[in-house]
Symmetry: C2
Subunit: 77 residues, 2 copies
């Protein structure tokens, strides 16, 4: 499974854990809501700049966010 | 300075430290050499998938590679 799918699932998990709707989170991350949905479903190819925006909106560093999605990759095997 | 510029400088530093030419490294990372040059100069907007290819070619995880470029950001202030 590719990095985009695991990244998207991680973003969705973290967003939901903060009790934020896609709409509220997209506004916080200065992203289009539809695009955020595509990122969460793993059908978009987020750029490093988008990763940085999402990480900032989650109050974490881009590397920490990606490390978390790598854990998902490790679990998924 | 944005994440793409620091990411590019980090890739260049790590590539050079391994004594690899852009051409050799681009082949290893399955990337177009011209595009790799743009990434290193910070004028390209690498996707997460490209970050993963570059990290793999450097034998490190994407999060470790991005963490290293974040250090550059911290130093640059």
């Amino acid at each position: 499974m590719n990095i985009n799918v695991h990244f998207g699932r991680t973003v969705k998990q973290l967003r939901s854990a903060q009790g934020l709707s896609q709409e509220a989170f997209a506004a916080r991350a200065d992203l289009n809501r539809t695009y955020l949905g595509e990122v969460e479903r793993g059908v978009a190819t987020p750029s490093l700049a988008t990763v940085a925006k999402i990480a900032a909106a989650l109050n974490m560093s881009p590397s920490a966010l990606i490390a978390q999605s790598e854990e998902l990759t490790a679990i998924a095997g």
